[in-house]
């Protein structure tokens, strides 16, 4: 298997190397850009980073988020209603980049956001704002020629997703073009909080880990919200976990509170998750 190695100076790559040295698992946190509003959104991201998040995924809201469950759908919808657009999100990323020069930041959105502006143009703008890579849940490896070309040119990571029903043959092909990390979708379903996971999830993680043979960073997402779940995912081979809907839900729960209260709640929550990433 050939391994793509164009990401020499990428912050994601450096972060995973450091996590390995420190014998820790990575904590990746997803936030919806500009939600509940651009100013609060910036403060939310700071609280999450201060709480110990290793990598931040910033969602750009899209009108038709087919891979998302109700929590993120609603956040998208409300952000759009308030006029959040990709330009506002890129501005937000610039601010976060200035504050945290070494923080790995990815954009998670749907292909049409890039398509509308033109893949090259949008990716250039996003690189300029300071991102390290993209996660596009509706981008398949078959359709990715243009996306891969510009990612390579701009030294951006291309995080592809692998599902529990993905064949071994396809996992191999996906691992070849995934850079930064590979995103293992833990469940059959959309994003959203789950109380428990079935055996197939753990089998899938173990299988991908086996095929990758430590050549890729394996990040597991969809449904994860508790320290206990993080420990399970780690035990079965995850190098990092991704938490999204639980963060949005916490934001929703404290939407009428003072930003400092919300900030502290998020910081404490994220730090409890990060503790689970450190435990052996």
């Amino acid at each position: 298997m050939k391994k793509v190695s164009y990401l020499q100076n990428n912050r994601i790559k450096k972060k995973f190397s450091k996590l390995r040295t420190d014998k820790e698992k990575g904590l990746i946190c997803y936030v919806m850009g500009g939600y509940p509003d651009p100013i609060t959104s910036e403060k939310i991201i700071s609280s999450i980073v201060d709480g110990g998040a290793d990598i931040i995924e910033i969602g750009i809201p899209f009108s038709d988020p087919i891979a998302d469950g109700p929590i993120i759908q609603e956040a998208s919808f409300k952000a759009l209603q308030k006029g959040v657009n990709p330009d506002i999100c890129l501005n937000l990323i610039k601010k976060i980049r200035n504050r945290y020069p070494d923080l790995p930041i990815l954009i998670m959105t749907y292909s049409n956001i890039l398509q509308k502006k033109g893949f090259e143009k949008f990716m250039r703008m996003a690189k300029g704002a300071g991102i390290d890579g993209f996660i596009l849940p509706d981008m398949t490896i078959e359709e990715s020629a243009e996306y891969l070309e510009y990612s390579k040119k701009l030294e951006l990571a291309t995080v592809f997703l692998v599902a529990p029903n993905t064949s071994d043959f396809r996992i191999r092909k996906t691992l070849e073009v995934s850079t930064g990390f590979v995103y293992v979708v833990s469940v059959y379903g959309t994003t959203g909080i789950r109380n428990s996971f079935s055996n197939y999830t753990l089998t899938a993680i173990r299988n991908i880990k086996r095929i990758s043979a430590n050549r890729n960073n394996i990040s597991v997402g969809f449904g994860i919200s508790t320290p206990h779940q993080i420990k399970i995912m780690s035990k079965y081979g995850a190098d990092a976990v991704i938490v999204g809907s639980a963060i949005i839900e916490m934001i929703n729960r404290h939407k009428d509170d003072n930003i400092h209260i919300l900030g502290n709640k998020l910081k404490n929550y994220v730090s409890s998750l990060k503790d689970a990433c450190k435990s052996k």
């Binding site: 109700p70 502006k117 981008m139 078959e142 359709e143 059959y188 379903g189």
Partner: protein
Amino acid sequence: MFLQREITMTKLQEFPIEGKYGKYGGKFIPETLVPAITELENAYKKIRNCSDFKKELCYYLQHYAGRPTPLYFAKNLTDYVGGAKIFLKREDLLHGGAHKTNNCLGQCLLAKKMGKKRIIAETGAGQHGVGTAMAAAVFGLKAEIYMGSIDIERQKLNLFRMELLGAKVHPVNSGTKTLKDAINEALRDWITNVKETYYLIGSVVGPHPYPMIVRDFQSVIGKEIKSQVKNITPRSPHALVCCVGGGSNAMGTFYPFLDNENVSLYGVEAGGLGIRSGKHSATLNAGSEGILHGMRTYLLQDEFGQINDTHSISAGLD
């Protein structure tokens, strides 16, 4: 005001490579659905030229749905307009009340052959939902239909028909609460229940192989027109005119005529309150290139790529 965009349609490949029609089509879908559409593509590849399958489908099209439908000479309309001789292909007389039944029977039979027990579908005006409920009923499959809550309000009668036929209808309250959100919700259901579920798409939309499958099952319309015209005149029709929402009736009508240069093909989109008003459904005339519902196509969208609401007085053309 009429906008006219001329589209060059070359003879489409019967089985397009990688699901591409020029640069359009393709498959932009969450990874969980890739095994499902691969399974579908393989099953369809195997079955499409199988004579038993064709014979069985033909039986149901004739005896259950009522094909062939008449090609009716609209004398009064012809006299009134005073130009071309106008013929109507009466797909409205098909069982269920629309051409949708052609595709639903084809896909339900395919689903049955694939061993699927549960059918899901989206519907706008409700015609595809009715077609799905009807086809699922005849083949003993369970049907669940996603329909925008605004469309349910506009088309209560079709909701009633679907339920009478034994389908379960899920009202969709997300986004614009109309067809595009019903498709989103059906896709989310499919992602969640991918193993046992067959997603029956109602138009020439969605990831490959759907546009091809729907085109093939609807092309019975054009094929019939071709042979019915022969009984009337030795020449080909001068023109075929179809309304275009998702495009399945138009594609089914046009496809068998694509290689005949003497036949002009007209697709008519819903103008709504006028193109300039922004309240219309003229995706091909006034839209721009984008990626939605698994394919690259023309979309009504804003400068940032957010999908706009469509507008038509007809639920089903929006």
